[in-house]
Amino acid sequence: LGKKEIDQELFDELEEALIAADVGPAFTSELIEKMTDSVKRKELDSPERLKEVLRSTMKTLLKKNEAPLVIPEKQIFTILVVGVNGTGKTTTIGKLANQFKEEGRTVAMVAADTFRAAAIEQLEIWSQRVGVPLIKQKQDSDPSAVVFDAITAAKSGKAEVLIIDTAGRLHTQVNLMEEMKKMKRIMGRELPGAPHEVLLVLDATTGQNAVNQAKMFTDAVGVTGIVLTKLDGTSKGGVILRIAQEYNIPIRYIGIGEGLDDLREFNSEEFVEALFEQGNH
């Protein structure tokens, strides 16, 4: 830090920072090579300048994926929330519903995780906190049937925005991925254009496996947006850079806590700055 010359030590330091932030070895090498080339071409002459260029390269990449969710007025808008186990889907739904409600929309939550113990009760508590209706069936019922009910309710004017909670599933579980595809199919059949948004919830503590998650959920149900949760922790969520580069999926929101208000729009500028912050907090 505060070095005058660009040397191997500087590159090693940057490499360590990127890898520690979960950017991943391959993409880190790519970024470092880019910088090395620029130095060779004498485009960069000081460590400060080099770091600046590295940051702005990352910001530019993420900026392309910075796209807040826009929900059109006066029509039914359905959001299918998916992801692997424990990433924060249900909690994020509570936060989203709260935000949309504050914006004056009529929202309903849909309990299509009929599998995990007390998943319905968990969402029910969130629906009470936010003050929006919950559409549910019994434990272990067919999630597609719950979604069907929800769309029927929305068509009859009960809600404009439907946010659908699904059971956590690993992207490698073929049966469960098929079940999710079926939910999507039923939605499209009952309401052309539905689901309008397929939100993939990724946990910022996840390492390189998040790339597989993004790929396989996208292949299965066409992910249209990402929420990156748990950024209030010490993990930096750098794997999102690799996902942004490879899949170009809009990053809608970040989660920064367990409370109702702990949701923010994704901001590439702030994200990259935080990624280089030492020690966090």
């Binding site: 932030a21 391959a26 996840t206 748990k230």
Partner: protein, 296 residues
């Protein structure tokens, strides 16, 4: 994938001269590939660094065995070293002589503590130990209900508390009840928390002081990335942990976090979670884990 690494390394050696002996020069490229593979598997950066140095010093000077190609030989060295690092300490749970022996599960949000608590009760019951369960999670909506429903499924007794109570008191009362009922083990499920949340970490310390657990187990998600060691080290520093349970190993995560935690803290990995079902908990096998990290 293991084949891929071995093949990649063969490719590396083919390009190099002097194949009779492994020396600094001809294993340099190979080590680069191994380093990439480990980082891709989420093994912690610093752990990888030390690991590569060790493999280098073990490999250099070795004759390339006639029966084996240099790439395979390196992979064998790497694999053996991984197994060594992952294994060692016995993975048995210690119960001590108290009834009940409290076992406390701690970790980040959503890593799988509640599910693992019930799985563990089942494993213990199979081994003839009567284990009770209690949730000290008064924060996450329906956390207590989640434990209750799962416990009921396997007929394990779950202590009845509600989320208006104090977590420390809940645990103390549960221990007393477990004692009255003659349970040999009491599994304490705690709320997920960040290691940097001082207040919440203080709560764990208070629970620990109140019940004096025979084991504190850190539950870690197999998909976690580079920060896993920092988090676990912080839990260990503030609370002291006796072992690790790795969850969600049924997916395709390579689980480099497992190696990292073992290497940095020296705490044994006792069990691995391999599914959402209550019987999806297995004893940890260093051999399998090593192969997995290398993508075998």
């Amino acid at each position: 994938m293991f084949e891929n690494l071995a093949e990649k390394l063969e490719g590396v050696f083919k390009r190099l001269k002097g194949r009779g002996r492994l020396d600094e020069e001809n294993i340099k490229e190979a080590l680069k590939e191994i380093r990439m593979a480990l980082l891709e598997a989420d093994v912690n950066f610093k752990v990888v660094k030390d690991f590569i140095e060790e493999v280098r010093s073990r490999a250099v000077g070795q004759e390339v065995l006639e029966s084996i190609t240099p790439g395979q030989q390196i992979v064998k060295i790497v694999h053996d070293r991984l197994v060594e690092l992952l294994g060692g300490t016995s993975s048995q749970l210690r119960f001590g002589s108290r009834f009940p022996a409290p076992i406390m599960l701690v970790g980040l949000q959503g890593c799988g503590k509640t599910t693992t608590a019930v799985k563990l009760a089942k494993v213990l019951a199979k081994g003839g130990k009567r284990a009770g369960l209690v949730s000290a999670d008064v924060y996450r909506p329906a956390a207590m209900e989640q434990l209750r429903v799962m416990a009921q499924k396997i007929g394990a007794p779950a202590f009845n508390a509600d989320s208006s109570q104090d977590p420390v008191k809940i645990c103390v009362q549960a221990v007393e009840e477990a004692k009255r009922n003659g349970y040999e083990v009491l599994i304490l499920d705690t709320a997920g928390r960040l290691a940097i949340d001082t207040q919440m970490m203080e709560e764990l310390k208070q629970i620990k002081n109140a019940v004096n657990p025979s084991e504190i187990l850190f539950v870690a998600d197999a998909m976690t990335g580079q920060d896993a060691v920092n988090v676990a080290a912080k839990f260990n520093e503030l609370l002291g942990i006796d072992g690790v349970i790795m969850t969600k190993m049924d997916g395709d995560a390579r689980g480099g976090a497992a190696l990292s935690l073992k290497a940095v803290m020296g705490k044994p990995i006792k069990y691995v979670g391999i599914g959402e079902k209550i019987d999806a908990l297995e004893v940890f096998h260093p051999e399998r884990m090593a192969s997995r990290i290398l993508g075998m």
